[in-house]
Symmetry: C2
Subunit: 601 residues, 2 copies
């Protein structure tokens, strides 16, 4: 008989009466009524193994078993006695009567119980091999694989070709810090790990490969936020001879298929589409979570002449904004919670959080409860109540500051209230999956510190048709053929139609204040390629880690990555990074900066 004839988790009533061999790990051993029961686990699930004392040798071996021993079992599949079935398991109606038992490898006592739900992340990442045995981690990584394979199959059927681009490459201009790799052969020179294969995929389009994809690692040496990793996986796609709408249709269809195939979820068809301007106006975000059924009321225009500096100041300033967020039924939110919200918006730079509780509209000002309402004259008050659609029992929160602060703070507050216990009870959050395309992004945003325009997406993004002249006359007005796919407030992916004419590319560099010399030094090879009949092309990139985190409902991106780094960019399992020896540094023509090198002997 083979070492193993099937997976534990697959054994079911269909196997009744068969003699099979299983391999797996002891999840639990129970001694009950002179019989030993083993829950045997493999990646597909659990099966109950029964060791009777009448097989003395088997029984003696069974008595030595401890949790996480790796064993091989041969036995007969039989029905469990009536009343002992376990309907939570696929194998719950049957059990394996053990005829042979071999310990393939013993285990020392694990440092924690695998089913402990309260492990610190440090413990989990230090003992990652054991952590990865937990069924939830196995489910996450299996889902990740299924998603990746569904993407590959979709792209393959559409004629896309996976072409590998280099990992050892030149610094790319994505704006983040590069990971560098010193060259041994070329003293004083460095490779950079790719932030994305952007320029290579564009060159593949120029080279005529027509439809490219790659599921590949990208690298950014940035201080890590909760959902970032130094290395992350990008589904990177590019196509020639398609317009913006066709590109979006193709990848909307792909994501719908992925959700259907891997989770049996039907996403909307088609996804709603919203201009960037509208998204910022209504939700203060370019990735609005449409599950939350609240939006901003614009008040900037009507607060210019109120006798309340907190509102009139921003309303009269160039980049100021005043909005209200109406929370239906929110009048019941207690003062203590409002205080919490005030602290919360402070994280985003808001200096306070004005509010009006609408107790009884019919009573006019007397029906409103608020520390600020006295400062707002009748006309403005009437208009704000009208615009916001305020009704008895609502609360209005106000944001008034620089537009960025208002958008960030009130946008975050909208999500916080929507997803709070109150918001869920009040029906302010609805729908399980709410996808959205955000389009018509600006080409540029003002870098206030540097006092110049920076690319919103990247400098290879095409301006919208008819907007090319703005590149020279009014860059701030110039919109881009850029698009982001958003789901439940997360950016799943984004992309753009690229510039395929060298002349337009040069104009964009000028708008960005990039000199010809700098452009040639950084992207000369792309500019050169554009001269040789570059085709119209565009594409996008999805963040695989993030998609799978969403789909699995994981709390952290680290729960869908087998061997992630901590937020201090360390691997606790292998202890990377680590010191290296002096000989290695010498060969790479570098030395450490600190006085006392931390070298290994």
């Amino acid at each position: 008989m083979k070492m193993r004839t099937d997976y534990c988790g697959n054994v079911s009533q269909a196997y009744l009466g068969q003699t099979i061999a299983l391999c797996g790990w002891v999840q639990r051993r129970r001694d009950h009524g002179g019989v030993i029961f083993i829950d045997l686990r493999d990646r597909e699930g659990l099966v109950q193994v029964v060791c009777d004392p009448d097989l003395a040798e088997v029984f003696a071996t069974a008595e030595t078993l401890r949790n996480e021993f790796c064993v091989r079992v041969e036995g007969l599949v039989r029905a469990r006695p009536q009343g002992t079935e376990n309907s939570n398991l696929k194998s719950g109606a049957v059990e394996l009567l053990c005829k042979g038992l071999e310990v393939l490898n013993a285990s020392v006592t694990p440092p924690f119980q695998l089913d402990d739900e309260n492990l610190s992340e440090t413990t989990r990442l230090t003992h990652r091999v054991l952590d990865l045995r937990r069924p939830q981690m196995q489910k996450n990584l299996m889902l990740r694989y299924k998603v990746a394979m569904a993407i590959r199959n979709h792209l393959d059927a559409q004629g896309f070709v996976d072409i590998e681009t280099p990992m050892l490459t030149k610094s790319t201009p994505e704006g983040a810090r590069d990971y560098l790799v010193p060259s041994r052969v070329h003293s004083g020179e460095f490779f950079a790990l790719p932030q994305s294969p952007q320029l290579f995929k564009q060159m593949l389009m120029v080279a005529g490969y027509d439809r490219y994809y790659q599921i590949t690692k990208c690298f950014r040496d940035e201080d890590l936020r909760a959902d970032r990793q130094p290395e992350f996986t990008q589904v990177d796609i590019e196509t020639s001879f398609l317009g913006e709408q066709e590109i979006r249709d193709l990848f909307e269809d792909m994501i719908r298929k992925v959700f259907k195939q891997t989770m049996d979820v039907e996403l909307q068809n088609p996804f709603p589409v919203m201009a960037y301007g509208e998204a910022m106006a209504r939700f203060g975000s370019d990735k609005p979570d449409l599950r939350v059924k609240m939006e901003f009321t614009e008040l900037t225009d009507i607060m210019k002449d109120v006798d309340f500096k907190v509102f009139s100041g921003p309303a009269n300033s160039d980049n100021g904004r005043v909005v209200a967020l109406r929370v239906p039924g929110g009048a019941e939110i207690p003062r203590s919670e409002i205080d919490n919200y005030t602290k919360f918006v402070g994280i985003y730079g808001a200096k306070g959080l004005a509010w009006i509780k609408v107790n009884e509209l019919a009573k006019g000002r007397d029906g409103l409860q608020s520390p600020i309402v006295k400062n707002i004259h009748d006309a403005a008050l009437a208009e704000l109540l009208k615009r916001s659609g305020a009704a008895d029992g609502d609360i209005l929160f106000f944001g008034a500051d620089k537009a960025k602060v208002v958008n960030d703070a009130m946008g975050a507050l909208r999500l916080k209230i929507g997803h709070s216990e109150f918001g869920q009870k009040a029906g302010l959050v609805q729908g399980r999956w709410e996808p959205l395309w955000v389009i018509d992004f600006p080409m540029f945003e003002l870098d206030e510190e540097a006092g110049r325009w920076a690319a919103c997406h990247h400098p290879f993004t095409s301006p919208k048709d008819g907007h090319e002249d703005y590149l020279t006359t009014d860059p701030g007005k110039c919109l881009a053929k850029a698009y982001d796919m958003v789901l439940n407030g997360w950016e799943l992916g984004g992309g753009s139609v690229r510039i395929h004419k060298e002349k337009v590319q040069s104009k964009v560099f000028r708008a960005l204040n990039i000199s010809e010399e700098e452009a040639a030094a950084k992207f000369g090879f792309l500019l050169d390629a554009l001269q040789y009949g570059a085709p119209p092309h565009g594409g996008l990139a999805f963040g695989l880690d993030r998609i799978v985190t969403m789909m699995s409902g994981a709390e952290s991106i680290r729960d869908v990555i087998a061997f992630p780094k901590t937020q201090r960019a360390q691997c606790l399992l292998t202890q990377a990074p680590s010191p290296v020896d002096e000989k290695q540094l010498r060969e790479l023509h570098i030395r450490l900066r600190q006085a006392e090198p931390k070298n290994v002997a």
Copy 2:
């Protein structure tokens, strides 16, 4: 109408009478009889476009076209006039009568003709984007994709799961030099780019993932030989609960399927299997090219007492070897060619190349022509002629030296003669595809310089059943559960059953003279993992670049990689590696060693 309705290369008689839109590049423009013919090219092939002068605007545009212009054409598919069909093209029976013509992007004159077969590699890699437009390069990369996808589909069907392992990791013990990545967060510490995911895949087996694969980049900072790249792509596979034979069967089946699906080639079933010892004895190589129908004749034992130091010296030395290589029909090889062969074996350290031409066996010594035959006494001569099966018209070449020199030199000579014009004519090379498993590798080889044992495969390889005791008593005798898949003299992949018991692993480390401290520092995380019920497991890794190079018949591995490095580890397209600025170095806590830093301002 869409920008494009189909690929140029797909247009055929099935499209007759249809109006279609195509996009592509001008391969050639011919003006003939007042009509302009355009060969339009896309990734699928060519189609002929005809521009008649009666559409004045179209014709005027057509007159501006030059090679490599990117254009869009709308037109009617019609039959070519009789006698002008081109049977080399799928579209050769039809042409597109142009009704609309748009230049999507002009092209400056390319620096070379795309169909120039004599380009230097420097030119090709510098202008890689244009080089990648060449049909042969497109075929190679498409084949590469098909091979990778066939591998994925096979593995998917077998329950293997693609799990990504880290790129930023710790130095691995594969023996080659690591590429290092300085850490910004952890001053003085470094990540290493993986030489292979070996330890991670073993940990995934310990974690219970059961069947893992990954098609992933690996890195070795070594001086490059013709078929090496700093980054290369490995098909990396590991499985639990299978024995050596089952693992080999599974992947032999995979490679057979890949050849069948992508090239319609039926490889032998099953592959022959040969022990390492036999391969070295017969062919002087652990990856013999079985297409070459010649093998060594062992003479060491009969040359001990000849009065010819060149033979008797090695024959009496511990690690010496004397062999003959019989070349059937080789007596006709001219003296000048023998001189070339003598130089050739010199590359491998051979100090000369003795030979005997067998003109007429019946005449005894008089029938032999040779500078050395006088030195060999009758008994030895008779035995060598008998063992080698020498016949009239043959030539025998001799290797006598340290075994390694003999194996390398005579093994290389065997291939050189076999594949030479003479060898082909004489039928010394036969068969198009000759696969082979080489098994039973030694666990260790003596590192003569260091005077200690080194792992032949890697230190995680399991000894053969029954050989565990040799680990302590006689490491040189210990064989491993290691296997290489060889095709036409190339190693396609290799692997082993791994050690899953910590006790055995420790014994191997001791045999390798690796102290407990060193083992703990380098592989502590693996040793730790082995304690927790590690399952029996094994796997292998295939070199994707090499497989595709073989399949495509490419001359160099660089012809199946989109953006390869030169043999000086440079990317001529992007000019990587390159100097970086001082600020970046400072952030990474390193400085350059040379006095005059080559920094960018």
